[in-house]
Point group: C2
Chain length 420, copies 2
């Protein structure tokens, strides 16, 4: 890494740390004013934002990017309004910082409890959609953190234009500008510096393709809130309700194909092969889903193809579903804990004990009974907003909202108490 880049990133980190320290004392009202000001500035400068965005769109076209890519990149009036509304919604959420819980009197006479605090400095590294710039900045400011944003080069002009308005809004509200910083340099090594800058960065949140995530997992020394694959399962139990099984499987697989909470694998109990295998398979095939089946199910489903072991580990993000007949609840849990990416799994059953065991013994971020995996989402869970879906085991697991961007410290209230 060049010395210039190193010192640029150090400087960015230092300024973020200073801004974050100053933000520890901020009242909720002042942060909310700033968030509403951000929304106002994005609306006011919508034309400038679109002008900046057009540069990115032109570059993408010249680089021969496909229509889906270009669509994700596009900032039209509707999307700018959605960003502004998102910021206003974040302003309206309860402030997580300073919340005191579990303040209990101890035998020694001291009172001990928790107080919720910002994590500190967050490095947000993302690709493609420019709205992430506003969403992430809004969530970080609301939770009292400073954020260093680093978007993909494909949306550099859009991101810079958005970040500039966010900073102007912070300034107008009297908050430290450096609560939001955007890394302008196109040098890929800037990411390398961010994810190893332990002194100034407290956590890295990456959102993007598998390449970006793998690089960050391998190279980061700063803790990462990781968002890995969603190889989600639905298990149709022996005691499943027929109609619920049908509708949940179809919804979990087909409501949207490319999301991480889409079901990629179906397990079905042997006793329900007779009445449920074909109806489910046909309903999926009618919606264009290819079925990759285990050797036992294969001859029973016209048009199915044989599943390999690799299929069971695969997040397709496509119109494909792997399918396996299992002998028991135990076999289903065993299969899931072996092949799943620990994102989201659902059991369809009317059996109380099976539901209770599945909830307890499946070791994934979200475990469901009689509900579509598509519900695994910060808004559906009531977080009010979402910065990603964590597949970490430590700190935060599943959808990450404002609370996931905070920590709990201990507070102790005494009256001259000493330890004996």
């Amino acid at each position: 890494m060049s010395e210039d880049l190193q010192s640029l990133m150090q400087n960015t980190g230092q300024r973020a740390r200073q801004a974050q320290r100053r933000a520890l004392a901020l009242e909720p009202g002042r942060k909310n004013d700033a968030l509403r000001q951000m929304a106002a500035f994005l609306r006011r400068d919508a034309d400038d934002l679109q002008r900046a965005n057009r540069k990115d769109l032109r570059n993408a076209e010249q680089a021969g990017r496909d229509e889906a890519f270009i669509d994700r990149l596009r900032l039209d009036e509707k999307r700018i309004e959605a960003m502004a509304q998102g910021l206003e919604e974040i302003a309206a959420l309860p402030d997580p910082v300073g919340e005191i819980t579990d303040l209990k009197m101890r035998p020694s006479g001291i009172q001990v409890g928790h107080m919720r605090m910002p994590l500190g400095v967050i490095a947000m590294i993302y690709e493609s959609r420019p709205n992430v710039t506003a969403d992430a900045a809004g969530l970080c400011v609301k939770s009292g953190n400073a954020v260093i944003l680093r978007g993909g080069s494909e949306s550099l002009n859009s991101n810079m234009a958005i970040a500039e308005r966010l900073r102007a809004a912070l300034g107008k509200s009297g908050l430290p500008l450096d609560l939001v910083q955007y890394v302008h340099t196109a040098d890929r090594e800037a990411v390398g510096a961010l994810i190893r800058m332990d002194t100034f960065v407290d956590v890295v949140i990456p959102r993007g393709g598998k390449g970006l995530l793998a690089r960050i997992r391998d190279e980061a020394t700063v803790p990462v809130i990781m968002h890995l694959d969603g190889n989600c399962h639905v298990y149709v139990d022996q005691d499943a309700d027929r109609q619920k099984a049908l509708q949940v499987v179809v919804n979990a697989k087909t409501q949207r194909l490319g999301t991480c909470n889409t079901a990629e694998s179906l397990l079905i109990h042997r006793d329900r092969v007779g009445d449920l295998l074909l109806p489910i398979a046909s309903a999926l095939q009618e919606r264009g889903i290819e079925i990759r089946a285990c050797p036992e199910a294969l001859p029973l489903i016209p048009g199915a193809v044989a599943a390999t072991d690799e299929d069971y580990s695969t997040e397709y993000l496509a119109a494909i579903l792997s399918l396996k007949i299992v002998d028991s609840l135990d076999a289903a849990i065993e299969h899931i804990n072996t092949y799943s990416s620990q994102h989201t799994e659902s059991i369809i059953t009317e059996n109380y004990s099976h539901a209770r065991r599945f909830l307890r013994e499946v070791d994934s971020s979200s475990v469901m009974v009689n509900a579509s995996t598509r519900f695994a989402d910060g808004f559906e869970y009531g977080l009010g907003a979402e910065i990603g879906i964590s597949t970490n085991r430590l700190h935060v697991r599943g959808p990450v909202g404002l609370e996931g961007l905070t920590l709990q410290k201990w507070i102790v209230l005494g009256d001259g108490h000493i330890r004996s």
Copy 2:
């Protein structure tokens, strides 16, 4: 690293993972039986444990270790009984696993909440005191985790003898033996393998000297619950009660010198220099504490020496205290957030607003009002047991008990609900 060692560690990790999966289904009563059985086996085999320990003591003597070192290493009957009682106390604690909280009805009709689960496989890497072998294993088994133990070579014989009894107790109780494994090899590279074995190890908990911690911080790819320095502060505010200030400062500095929650630095408001500086300094000096003072305080305290900037960053773990006069609460908070190791800080004040601001704006694991920093401890906080004191920002901060060894996953209860 040799291939043999690599495959030995892989095998250890694989067996831990399998045992941990099986433990997801364990009822609290069965884990508690096993913990009480562990205690019984340690008591029954106390003679064998002491025999093994004598080998370690002889080696330490031959290596010319000092008396303090040898004392820490010693396993006498009283210490073996304390280990056994510790395990019984862990058995008596509430089981954290399976706890369901915040189960709320959402507008869509699904119910969403949290369920507490084991972290998974924990690698515990520690030095010196053999009782950690039993303490750590007990806490990990209680919280449903598998643990891979790796103690220092100085206590290898003692640790192996303890671990053998713990495993025998697991076997007798019908639990997977591999919930507790001890790494027998003296090869230092075994630690290197453990802290990079992301597939099989979910978290590393080191306890030991700065050398061990620095190595793990630099080399680990597995998340670490870090236990770094305790450079703890007491700030005597403008509105401090005189008697409380005296007793808390003396207790925080002198009750024990070598613990991480001992105060290492005293800040005193300029307005209290007149009536409090000398009484506090004399009380400390009478107890053998050397005072390293700022230029302003230096001429006012007979026998004090000049503090350097490095003093303010130092965890002495010795009979030394750094001291600085500050102009305001703001200056005190600024100094602490700059120099502290974010372990534990206390303000002495009768001023409501100053107390409130200090609690909020000091960015440390434990923040106190009118209480000795020595209270920062899992037992004093009511955790029932403690595996260490975390200086992490993510996951768990401050004293780590059973809850710190667990995660919260999401659970969703529906009735055939699908997303529209």
